[in-house]
Symmetry: C2
Subunit: 414 residues, 2 copies
């Protein structure tokens, strides 16, 4: 008998008909003789509606305001958990819902993006021992100050993995509206293939392919605690994708996936004076405002006196960053010729544990793009990822070319 | 400086615009130098939507199911309390929301219609001492088993009065969509007049006039703890109606109001054998099923061998009552000529503390109806109420005639 944590996202519990189908998936697992702990998100659209209400009455970001924000938006998961428990009861199964505070899912006090600190696994174990199916409201916990806390967008994934870790569950099944993790976005590339297994490190690097499916923090937590996570669809019977230790798969393939990110922006400052510390000083106000920069390029003029500084950041941050930069250069009398921003850029990445053991991976990427006249505007790399910034209009072409170049459409087991 | 509890019902907080107006009513009280504790209902329509969801997944009435029911429907008040606290913060006031479990509003374990057992007033006092406005989610508490409990339809009124009692508040203002308690239904009788003061006992007897405005249990609680309750509209500045000790008003008038109830039904059993205990036995299964009977009339034949039994009950219970009666008479071989039910009957009542001191009150009622050819089908009386059952078609006429006969349109202070 195994212990399985099942997590159902918003589209999986979109309405009461869908909740009935989810109950069948729970019962199916139960009938295999397994113990099941269920974690649910809000019915799709509910959280957005609540955020809309909040926006009508407040734009405050104080801790007091965020505590109220959490109290309001956590109500969505509360509804789903009660409804699913009721449906399971109706079908003759013992079941009860647990809210974050009832399950004693203790978090820190950073409301709206709190982190789980500990979970009282005894509460679930007692429930399971009584033959009952616990249905946990995801996304929420209780902070030290006895208030509801929530864990940010996709937080139910983290709830599920944290509970699986606390209970030493055999598997954590994340049911969603896609059937797994793909070699690239199937809407862009028709030969995209579902990955049966993905390494934790790999998925962390797959911003666009992974983050839409799983909250990054949940993957980090799964990795840390060795939780076996399966991503699968609640709308089909297909097997999903399994998150496993990277060692398990790295020999098989060099590149695992081609990812992309559209919400990128680039800011360029032309002909800024190149004195020691100027560039670092230029970027300091952005760091202070928790604006994350991704790629940073500095070209120094032949005489060494002037520099062009280019960096990329997330699109939603661009207006704030421009304002901060202009304010900062004014205040410190830093001279430059021009400052400009564009959001007409995208990032395309190839990811794979195998690139650590193989040479020529980057070269193939650059050559493929060059052969097709796609200009690389900037490059950034990690141990297992190479990302390039390109113009937005080439996004789909680049993804398809790279997917082909690394032969990702072919099953490596075939 | 006074301590005022303000309670806002569903239509008062129907949407975020209304919540902003409610915030102004809170601030207005605060600006008078008073301490304010706010209690809110769910935004109108929300509870009905949640009950609809529940109906889609379950019709169970077990304690386990009712605990889930409570967890689901209590989410509506959770949303409103957070939104109002946010709006007050936005306007520069310190405020925080309290859910039932956070405010330690302890109830018994009878989910869906639980009763408040105790309230930790220290929590509110501490909040007030810190200059903050507590906004309490009404309708909900926490049961011994650490689960959310709710207090039945209109339960937020009871939350408000209970908190007012626990805090020894100077007044409990119940804001609603009507501006007070009227001498009769203004939609039926154009001369209906708002009562500036109503006795606790009187309002308890005014099923139709009172129950739509205030949960009966909240009136009982206000009476018991001597809480001064004011019913007023959040949509206008008019003064409302004040609930006071009955002694305060009983000398002023004989009759206070004319009430009516439409959801009445009558069941008649013809020519049942009149043996000792037969009639009591006939009604026993109804009592066992917690169907409340109101008026009961038994006519015995001249020879004493047969009886006609007529009784009234609430319309929603009538099908269940008929089934129980047929089953019971079959099982015990009780003979009767016919059994029939009708819902084409209504109850009209005159209520007033003063009738205890005055004679001829009932006579005036019966005479008024007789003079206008309205047949009285049954009569029931209490210390301060006389009710008659009449045919449905005469409802409005009867209400108007009685309102005139007792001169309720005239202000007794005039």
């Amino acid at each position: 008998m195994a212990l399985i944590v099942q997590k159902f996202g918003g589209t999986s519990v979109a309405n009461t008909d869908r909740i009935k189908e989810v109950a069948q998936l729970v019962i199916k697992e139960k009938k295999k003789g397994n113990d099941v702990v269920v974690v649910v998100s809000a019915m799709s659209g509910v959280t957005a509606q609540l955020i809309d209400y909040i926006g009508n009455v407040s734009t405050l970001m104080s801790e007091e305001a965020l505590a109220e924000y959490d109290s309001v938006i956590s109500s969505g998961e509360q509804v789903t958990s009660g409804l699913l428990a009721l449906q399971l009861q109706t079908l003759g199964y013992k079941s009860r819902s647990f809210l974050g505070w009832q399950a004693e899912i203790r978090t820190d006090n950073t409301h709206s993006k709190s982190r789980i600190e500990r979970i009282n696994s005894d509460i679930f174990m007692e429930c399971l021992k009584g033959g009952s199916i616990p249905v946990v409201a995801g996304f929420q916990g209780i902070s030290d100050d006895n208030r509801i806390s929530t864990m940010g967008r996709g937080g139910s994934d983290t709830s599920a993995v944290a509970i699986a870790a606390a209970l030493k569950a055999d598997r954590c099944d994340i049911y969603t509206d896609v059937s797994g993790i793909f070699t690239t976005d199937p809407r862009i590339c028709s030969t995209a293939r579902k990955l049966r297994k993905v390494g934790y490190q790999e998925i962390l690097e797959m911003a666009s392919l992974g983050a839409k499916v799983l909250q990054i923090r949940s993957v980090e937590m799964a990795y840390k605690h060795g939780v076996e996570v399966q991503v699968l669809s609640s709308f089909s019977d297909e097997p999903g994708s399994l998150l496993v230790n990277d060692e398990e798969i790295m020999e098989r393939r060099v590149i695992t996936a081609v990812a992309h990110s559209k919400d990128e922006a680039r800011i360029t400052i032309l002909n800024v004076e190149n004195k020691p510390g100027v560039v670092a000083g230029l970027l300091q106000p952005l760091a202070d405002s928790t604006i994350n920069l991704d790629m940073i390029i500095q070209n120094i003029s032949y005489d060494g006196k002037r520099a062009n500084v280019t960096f990329t950041l997330k699109e939603p941050d661009v207006d704030r960053a421009m304002a901060l930069l202009k304010d900062h250069t004014n205040k410190h009398d830093i001279k430059y010729e021009d400052i400009s921003a564009t959001t007409e850029v995208v990032k395309v990445s190839v990811i794979g544990m195998g690139m650590q053991e193989h040479s020529g991976v980057a070269q193939k990427m650059f050559q493929t793009l060059a052969d097709n006249n796609i200009n690389i505007l900037a490059i950034t790399t990690s141990e297992i990822k190479i990302s390039v910034l390109i113009e937005q209009e080439y996004l789909e072409l680049a993804v398809r070319l790279l997917h082909d170049a690394y032969e990702l459409g072919k099953d490596p087991r075939a």
